[in-house]
Chain length 141, copies 2
DNA sequence: AATATAAACTATAACGTGATGGTTGGAGGG
DNA sequence: CCCTCCAACCATCACGTTATAGTTTATATT
């Protein structure tokens, strides 16, 4: 044993995780899509979980038993695990990316509109939205 | 009959639409969430479809029978129906709304970060993204 | 050992299902 | 006529299910 973890068997596939936790693959799939579980992806798009996910699942099950919905559990766990800024950072960057593509398609649609239509849209945009976007801009420049 | 449409019975609820088309409520639900079908919402959050949706569903079924997936059907139908700018407008406004909430949560996450982390994020934001957001701002102000 | 092939595993799509909780329209009672 | 109460709807959640298609691995064959 030269620097090897004994337990901590990394690279768990969905089936492994399912057997180790007793919940179905579908549920793990669902949780992963919700962002409740994080997984790396192989080149062939297979999910790889770490042993960390096992405990996470048990936490989820415990909170579910107390009547919480998955969204709330997510928020709760996201806040709880706040000694790890790296994860948050990654998530924010990802968020920023989706937002970028959102904005991109939105601008395209806008440009396809006539001037009068554009005016209508402008009027429908709440001033707070404008402020919000301005704040964002200030944050990233 | 004083200016009333004989057919064209508007304000169809999901059950009505299901009976009229022969597809299940769940499927209509699914299509609506995908954005394949548009529905207004009552104050109590009930969906209201127009008779237009009936034909739309038949179109969808026809394209499905030819092996197309729902995403492609959506794109196809979205492009096809391009004599109706009102629909586009509604969609853009909706887009704008989701974007607004996206930005909102993003700013919140940003503000929870330390200064050093913020810098890291800034550096990860592509300059083109900044330009993009600036363009958006110009469009809506 | 290299290869072909079958068996087991995986991801995603497109709904189905059951539970939960809110909504509405009409029948009956005051 | 107003109020209440119930049955029929509706929305959403949290998975379950089936089908399709790609991947990995174990096994058999050359």
């Amino acid at each position: 044993m030269v620097g090897g973890k004994i337990i901590g068997n990394e690279k768990l596939k969905i089936g492994d995780l399912a057997k180790m936790t007793g919940i179905t693959k579908r549920t793990i799939d669902y949780y992963t899509n919700l962002g409740l579980l994080k997984a790396e992806r192989s080149t062939s798009n297979y999910r790889f979980y770490t042993s960390e996910a096992i405990e996470r699942i048990h936490e989820i099950e415990a909170m579910k038993a107390q009547g919480m919905c998955l969204q709330d559990i997510k928020k709760s766990l996201d806040v709880e695990h706040n000694g790890n800024p790296k994860e948050d950072l990654q998530e924010i960057c990802l968020h920023m990316q989706t937002l970028q593509s959102e904005v991109s398609t939105l601008i395209e649609s806008m440009n396809r509109q006539e001037q009068s239509t554009k005016e209508t849209i402008k009027n429908k945009v709440l001033p707070e939205s404008v402020t919000l976007i301005q704040s964002l801009l200030r944050l990233i420049t």
